[in-house]
Subunit: 338 residues, 2 copies
């Protein structure tokens, strides 16, 4: 396996005035017209200028970008997590995310375009995050997390050319993230992996769901429990790819120290609710300096892979900061899950 | 409005050996063959005999009922809530709920039958709760909360005679409760109200959803926010009834002291996402002694009503203990929402 860095946040120019880019990470990938297209999650935050106030962003449908000033001395806010400011009534994200489109001829050198997908509407007011692209019959279905005071919903967006995008609303209600749609029907149903965040009784586990039309979902079941390998949470990562062994899925797990790992599993070709094989050791672990250090340390998080013949390229975000890619063979993955 | 008590937990004989009935409450109601049928949620708990251990129940598919002994002196458990024992890894309900069927000729005097719906399968291991019955074309669709270490899921069960019941699986994944299905299609879609429990950013609000087939759901939107009237949470109650003014819904709200109230609202006949009128003062408040005192104080909670002509009977649980009924006219309700 060969790991390399693909895209760095420091090379992205901020879109919002008075903001800085803190991350360009967790990209969705797809092949379109011979190119590899990437939807990169870009996170920007207000440059903090006043030591008495902490500034958090909010994207409002009518007025565009708002900056909310939180009084540091009020004692009302918990600033201990760099990603979110908590208080008893309302949480705020410290950055606002949107998607930036990058393209590549070879899947290695990416050209950043000026095309962006910005948050839109009240259920995206704290940003849009962690996209996944599934191509079905020439149409690209993009699932993404939409954050707002309606919670963390997963919404659907559709494109055929990565120029114009049509939003299709919420398909997995709050809180639910890490939704990946399988690239074709199995039997007469579409399938998706997803991760509800339950508030009691259960941990964040990986679930499966089915749909007749990609818009209405049901048949919900827990597919993989986070505590099976001693993890605190587990969620789908890359959009599954059909291989000769079955559906290949690369997913993430995080332990109680928020250290992320990527695992591989194979689901039955005709019945994805059956896990045929699963790696008990991580396929990708935090080993490189760029996987260890960044905005949020020790994170490897994938939203997509490209499999061509025997070659698999797993694109992944590192430390909520940059984009890396691991290249390996199907044989290496089969070896890992046995 | 006239309130009266309909059913008392003290008159129910425990089903499980060594258990006591602590509540018979939150009933679903429907008309079937001229009778009023009630699915009463019965909660039973182990009789506590050993002062060193607290006993909690669990219903296991293979072995039936299990009793789990929690060491009171371990310091690992929080016993401060009479409904749930909390610890850092896993919560336990202090009682196990199932449904008991009661029938009445006049909707006032109910005969308790020996027919019960017991928990079944791994996603019901901590019990089944708060049923709602929607009759569509002679088929009764029962939504209910299923509690387990898969979280709080809402499942669907179907019957045509209240003798045999067929489970149809999870229709709203965890955590989601207070699901009521509208009694016929509006346009070409079925609708339901529901209440996801989000873990961050949002409070428990009332949402709406749509479905082509009652099994797969989508089109999720927030319908009514809990904080609009200063409440901590809000959820659908009775199955909606179509009146000449629109869809009548009786729902609950609870404030920060866990004091429950029932409100009325009217949704547009052709577009239930539009709230046409809503009471800003409660329709039913805690006023009677039987609404004030019981297992969990100050609770009025409805799962169903019967509307015939101008007369509306709202059946509701009181204090997670007994069943009461409020009889009033449609005119009184219209007055409340104006």
């Amino acid at each position: 396996m060969k790991k390399r860095q693909i895209l760095k946040a420091e090379n992205i120019v901020p879109y919002f005035k008075g903001f800085e880019v803190i991350g360009a990470f967790n990209p969705a990938v797809a092949k379109c017209g011979g190119k590899t297209v990437m939807l990169v999650r870009v996170a920007e935050r207000p440059v903090q200028k006043d030591e008495n106030y902490f500034l958090v962003p909010e994207y409002d449908e009518r007025s565009g970008l708002n900056i909310i000033r939180l009084d540091k001395s009020s004692g009302k806010y918990d600033f201990s997590d760099c990603r979110v400011v908590k208080n008893s009534h309302k949480n705020y994200l410290t950055s606002l995310s949107y998607f930036l489109i990058a393209e590549s001829e070879d899947g290695l050198d990416f050209r950043i375009t000026d095309r962006r997908i910005l948050p839109e509407g009240p259920d995206e007011e704290y940003g849009i995050e962690d996209p996944r692209i599934t191509e079905i019959d020439g149409v690209y279905y993009i699932t993404y997390s939409a954050i707002s005071d309606c919670g963390i919903n997963t919404k659907l967006m559709v494109t055929s050319d990565f120029q114009t995008f049509e939003r299709k609303g919420v398909i997995f209600y709050a809180d639910n993230k890490d939704v990946v749609i399988f690239p074709h029907k199995i039997g007469d149903k579409y399938y998706a992996l997803h991760r509800p965040s339950t508030s009691q009784f259960a941990k964040p586990d990986m679930w499966i769901a089915e749909s007749p039309d990609l818009r209405h979902w049901g048949g919900y079941r827990v597919l993989l429990r986070s505590d099976e390998d001693g993890n605190e949470r587990v969620g789908a990562g890359a959009v599954p790819v059909l291989t000769k062994e079955g559906w290949l899925e690369i997913f993430h797990a995080a332990d109680e120290n928020n250290c992320y790992k990527l695992y591989a599993m194979i689901m039955n070709k005709d019945d994805p609710e059956k896990i045929e094989a699963r790696g008990t050791v991580p396929l990708i672990e935090v080993t490189e300096d760029f996987e260890k250090n960044g905005f949020f340390k020790n994170v490897v998080f994938t939203c997509g892979m490209i499999a061509e013949g025997e070659k698999v390229r797993i694109y992944y975000g590192t430390c909520d900061t940059n984009v890396a890619m691991a290249e390996l063979s199907l044989g290496e993955i089969y070896e890992n899950v046995r």
